[in-house]
């Protein structure tokens, strides 16, 4: 069988197997992967927190975030697909989300700097992608689901960046910090739940 033919057969066979860690949307693995972002609050909260930090620290970095974030996520996810079992890093992820929420709540007064934001975003999106990939690894349609989630991340990031394009009026700057505080609070509660009953 030719290379593309083998790939197509493999893709089709994978797609017919059940998907764990995904809520069936009826749209197949691709759609399930897109929905995963909305149904995995830690992933979604990290994304929102990173967008908040980017827009709070000026336009130069936020313009590149829509590309960097999904690509790093995808690379991390592809690495995660090679992992045999799900990485038990949910607690670490919850702690990271909490910390990012705190940083966003403290606002632009922190002056984090573009280098810190760039490095942090790359590292965190790789890590969260790795965890997402490992949770899908070994299950049918994992690659399609991962691609679907990466596309969802790109779309949501782009939409948020468009809506929150700096500079911000005072009320919006305060609103962004408020959302940061909500993210920190959610992360803390999630940390508690995960320490009590790991998902």
């Amino acid at each position: 069988m030719s290379g593309p033919g083998t790939a197509a057969a493999l893709w089709s066979a994978l797609g017919s197997l059940p998907l764990a860690h995904l809520v069936p949307t009826g749209l197949g693995p691709w759609g399930d992967g897109m929905a995963r972002l909305m149904l995995q609050p830690l992933d979604l909260l990290l994304l929102v927190a990173l967008v908040l930090l980017a827009v709070q620290n000026g336009r130069s970095w936020s313009d590149r975030l829509a590309l960097v974030l999904p690509l790093n996520w995808l690379v991390g996810g592809l690495g995660g697909l090679l992992v045999v079992r799900e990485l038990p890093l949910a607690l670490l992820c919850a702690a990271i989300v909490t910390a990012m929420g705190v940083l966003a709540a403290l606002g632009p007064a922190l002056r984090l700097g573009e280098r810190f934001l760039r490095g942090g975003t790359a590292a965190l999106s790789l890590l969260f992608g790795l965890v997402a990939g490992s949770s899908l690894a070994g299950h049918g349609g994992a690659l399609q689901a991962l691609l679907g989630e990466a596309v969802a991340i790109a779309v949501v990031t782009a939409l948020l960046l468009m809506a929150l394009d700096p500079p911000h009026p005072r009320w919006l700057a305060l609103g962004l910090r408020l959302i940061g505080s909500w993210i920190a609070a959610s992360g803390l509660l999630m940390l508690g739940w995960l320490s009590r009953q790991p998902l």
Binding site: W182, A185, L188, L189, M190, G192, W193, L194, R196
Partner: protein
């Protein structure tokens, strides 16, 4: 037949209601029977629904959260945004303590006191220093978090529940701030003080129950 009745009643409601149609629709949606949510707990959306409804269905929690916003409005900036900014993480810290099994004595009394004290602050328009106001609100937040943050209905997704719980709490603060902004209008100041009196009375009622 049912569809026809609904359409005609909607038309009558729109014709005779003094309120704008959008507001009528909003009220109708809020008052709609909860039967449609009966199976919400069987999917991840159940976590969101349960988490969102939990803070807004407990009167003690509702009045205290609204009072945070009201008192912030009375105190003015920066307390106006600082109190609602600080409350959710500290409340979540209380929830975290509960989830980790750390006991906190007098939780119900603390919650009742939060309504009573903040209601009185709004009623008498008391303006302590910012650090004292923040400390007071943060202390109350720990009690609220400890009591409510760890209550998870069976079968719900804990992470989505937590997220929705925090959002609903934050929205209650915003309701309080919006009510407090009525002070800018003639008669609004009296209205806000009246709301503070209402909060204090509810707090007093819960305190009596907690001590009984």
């Amino acid at each position: 037949m049912g569809q026809c009745w609904r359409l005609s009643s909607w038309a009558v409601l729109r014709r005779h209601s003094p309120l704008p149609p959008a507001l009528v629709a909003l009220v109708a949606a809020v008052l709609a029977p909860a039967a449609a949510w009966a199976h919400a707990d069987l999917h991840p959306g159940g976590g969101l629904v349960a988490g969102f409804l939990h803070p807004i269905t407990g009167l003690d929690h509702v009045v205290a959260m609204v009072a945070v916003g009201l008192w912030g409005a009375v105190l003015g900036p920066p307390a106006l945004w600082l109190l609602p900014l600080a409350f959710p993480p500290v409340m979540a810290l209380g929830g975290l303590l509960a989830l980790l099994g750390v006991p906190l004595p007098g939780v119900e009394v603390g919650i009742a006191l939060s309504g009573l004290v903040m209601g009185l602050m709004v009623l008498f328009e008391l303006r302590p220093p910012l650090w004292l106001a923040a400390l007071l609100v943060a202390s109350f937040a720990v009690f609220h978090g400890h009591a409510h943050g760890a209550e998870l209905p069976a079968g719900t997704h804990p992470l989505l529940y937590s997220l929705a719980f925090v959002i609903a709490t934050g929205l209650l603060h915003l309701v309080g701030i919006l009510l407090g902004e009525a002070r800018r209008w003639p008669g609004g100041r009296a209205l806000v003080r009246l709301a503070g009196a209402g909060v204090a009375l509810v707090g007093l009622w819960f305190l009596e129950r907690a001590l009984a």
